[in-house]
């Protein structure tokens, strides 16, 4: 019982962090049709900027300043890079962001060095929020959940309740019509790119000190975010939300469960000869590949993803 509850809480926290990344990715994808390969790199930039700002100003200003700075970088990159690549089609755009992710990782190495930087949780958030049976639930995890839920609500309100959100939603499905009505669609694209990237940076600000801030962090989370987006259905925000939570929870449970394939088979009444390397694998060892297996399964049985609408 204790294990289930604790893992569930941890899984939701991780899943919400994944959603902060995948929501920006989904917005950018459904608007511009371009999959931002460098999305996780902006997550990393968010963490590094937050580290740099928190050294000078402290953690709280960094929470606001770092995403804004990264968003500004995103706007500039869209305006002077991605928009030029757009002329040559989606493959060129995808390759541009691929090259960008490569370059950002090298720039981070160049400026902050190869080793992890000392980006820590602020004193005020260091401690235990509550104790569940015998496990402590840290304040910072609660804070992460608060920030991500707050962001989720703000994003929802922005998209459905404001005039800006209305135009963005319209530009998602009928860019030509919106342009004909006198809105500057390229500028909307630019702002959506900046906004999506800023969301990723916010995830980096609160995730960087909870995990570790090092040049490899983008690659570690990047592919998982793509899996989330494919599983949820390309271009579906609700799908991304469900898939983020699902993968977050599944992975957290898998890491904690130390049962082997043989044990699972026995549960279903199948006796396996526990001699092969396959049968001796535990779920903990399998955890890193579970999301990918999940993705393959979804593709075989439901190619458009959980909630995807389009069949491209």
């Amino acid at each position: 019982m204790e294990f289930v509850l604790v893992s569930l809480l941890n899984g939701i926290t991780y899943g919400m962090l994944l959603f902060m990344l995948s929501s920006g990715l989904t917005l950018i994808f459904s608007m511009m049709g371009v999959l931002n390969f460098a999305h996780a790199s902006f997550y990393m930039l968010g963490a590094y900027f937050a580290y740099q700002v928190s050294v000078i100003l402290g953690f709280w200003p960094a929470l606001l300043v770092a995403p804004l700075l990264v968003g500004l970088c995103g706007v500039l990159i869209e305006r002077y890079g991605l928009r030029n690549a757009h002329k040559y089609g989606h493959v060129a755009e995808l390759l541009f962001t691929f090259g960008l992710s490569f370059l950002i990782e090298e720039i981070v190495r160049l400026v902050w060095g190869k080793a992890a930087v000392d980006y820590r949780i602020p004193e005020a958030l260091n401690g235990t929020l509550f104790t569940l049976f015998s496990s402590n639930f840290p304040i910072y995890k609660g804070f992460m959940m608060l920030v991500s839920v707050g962001m989720l609500l703000a994003l929802y309100a922005l998209l459905t309740r404001t005039r800006t959100g209305l135009i963005v939603q319209a530009a998602l499905s009928r860019p030509d019509m919106v342009e004909a009505l006198g809105h500057n669609v390229p500028r909307i694209f630019m702002l959506v790119f900046g906004g999506g990237v800023a969301l990723a940076a916010l995830a980096g600000v609160i995730g960087g000190n909870a995990f570790i801030t090092e040049p490899g962090m983008a690659a570690a989370v990047g592919t998982i975010v793509f899996v989330v987006v494919v599983v949820g259905g390309l271009g579906s925000l609700a799908g991304a939300f469900v898939a983020s939570l699902l993968i977050g929870i599944v992975q957290t449970f898998a890491v904690g469960l130390n049962v082997s394939i043989t044990d699972i088979a026995a549960l279903f009444g199948v006796e396996l000869q526990a001699s092969g390397a396959m049968a001796r694998l535990t779920l903990t060892q399998l955890a890193p590949i579970l999301p990918y297996l999940f993705m393959v399964a979804i593709l075989v049985f439901r190619p458009r993803g959980l909630m995807g609408a389009r069949e491209s």
């Binding site: 160049l110 060095g113 590949i289 075989v300 491209s312």
Partner: protein, 424 residues
């Protein structure tokens, strides 16, 4: 490569001559570069040429952008290594010369398995699925140490059994001729494939899958066939790399290898059959040259790739073919003088950029030691060198912007002239 542009058939006399010349050059090359280092470099280039060409079967010919092509390369390599070790134990009567076939077969089978899943979708979704499958195989490979050797990889010895016809594959030169032989066969086969109905349908699927369905073909089937065949050729390349290095590690399967082959094909030019060959040669040489010169080579590499994506999306092959067209019309003299005006701005940009990057690296690694660059000693703790490099970079960019119209103007005049000549 486009079927509608009616490419010269494979057996056209002019084609035969150029294939013959290529073969002759490949045979003579090691006589000119017989040093150990140059020879192993040539071997590496040969392997990468096959790999990049097999990649272009997907990206250039079928329009499938794959981020996980190393899977087939790696699986071919591991299968070959295991077969080689079986040969060493005397388990199989198979000459080493034919081992690349084993790798090709393994790549082909992997293509059948993963192609079934990934070719269900095209476009961006295919790109992401290939990335996911790449990650899946790469992380799964670390889970089965018996099969993939864990972190250390598995190694073998290619000198097994008796020498067949005096060839033991002990000396590197014999390995070179093995690679060249397989590379030549693979190149011919892949070129021939572009002229088959399947090759033409692949082009059609790339350009307009809907119309392909109208004429009665299944685009998914065409994508699947192309992926399987491309996996086979990647497997041959992997097999040759296993034989050449006598070690295969999990990195062979990983994202870095996939990224490298993507860059090779794209930088060379995916719209031309010979594009990936140019890319493979150039990138392999750059990797060797740059990684010896500077620690920041990956940065320059990424920047170079971005510049190609933004400013030369057809790759180097497109640049060459543009100039070839003018050369044939004897109009090359119209544009070449304008390039001279780019020399100063480009030098300034390069100096400024290299200065900044090298100083940044020095500052991050060891700020107290002065940086040695082009014979000069630079103290990176002072502000002056930073400002100087920044000024050179910005000045160069401004000058480049100012002198760019001269180049485009010269090109426009030359093309106008060419068109008016074609009309008369």
């Amino acid at each position: 490569m486009n079927c509608d542009a009616s490419p010269p058939p494979l057996l056209h006399p002019r084609r035969l001559v150029s294939w013959g010349v290529l073969l002759a050059v490949l045979i003579v090359l090691p006589l000119l570069f017989s040093k150990g280092f140059a020879l192993s470099l040539l071997c590496q280039i040969g392997i990468m040429v096959i790999f990049a060409l097999s990649y272009n079967m997907l990206l250039g010919q079928t329009g499938l952008l794959s981020f996980g092509h190393a899977v087939y390369f790696g699986i071919g390599a591991f299968a070959t290594m295991h077969t080689l070790n079986l040969l060493g134990k005397g388990g199989l009567p198979l000459p080493v010369t034919l081992l690349p076939l084993v790798g090709g077969l393994a790549g082909l089978l992997a293509g059948v398995l993963f192609g079934y899943v990934s070719t269900k979708r095209a476009g961006t979704a295919f790109a992401m699925i290939s990335l996911g499958i790449g990650e899946l195989v790469a992380s799964a490979s670390l889970m089965f140490p018996a099969l993939f050797g864990g972190e250390g990889g598995i190694s073998g010895n290619r000198v097994v059994g008796g020498a067949v016809l005096g060839i033991s594959y002990g000396p590197q030169i014999e390995m070179y001729y093995l690679i060249v032989g397989w590379a030549f066969i693979s190149m011919l086969a892949m070129y021939a494939l572009t002229q088959t109905p399947l090759g033409c349908m692949a082009n059609a699927v790339r350009d307009n899958p809907e119309r392909v369905q109208f004429v009665g073909y299944d685009p998914q089937w065409v994508r699947f066939m192309m992926l399987v065949l491309s996996g086979g050729f990647a497997g041959i390349a992997g097999a040759l790399s296993a034989l050449n290095y006598e070690i295969v590690t999990a990195e062979t399967l990983g994202a870095q290898t996939s990224g490298a082959v993507l860059m090779m094909a794209f930088v060379g030019g995916v719209g031309w059959f010979h594009g990936p060959i140019i890319g493979a040669v150039l990138i392999t040489l750059l990797q060797i040259a740059l990684s010896g010169l500077t620690k920041a080579w990956l940065f320059y590499f990424g920047l170079f790739f971005l510049c190609i994506v933004l400013y030369l999306p057809g790759g180097i092959a497109s640049l060459l073919s543009m100039h070839q067209r003018l050369w044939k019309a004897r109009l090359l003299g119209w544009v070449l003088p304008s390039y001279v005006r780019l020399a100063l701005p480009l030098t300034l940009v390069a100096c400024g950029l290299i200065g900044l990057v090298e100083m940044a690296y020095q500052r991050a690694e060891a700020a107290e030691i002065p940086l040695r660059l082009l014979g000069a000693s630079i103290d990176v703790t002072l502000a002056t060198p930073w400002l100087g490099a920044l000024a050179a970079l910005c000045g160069g960019l401004v000058l480049l912007r100012a002198s760019w119209p001269a180049v485009t103007g010269a090109w426009r005049r030359a093309l106008l002239r060419l068109e008016s000549r074609e009309e008369t």
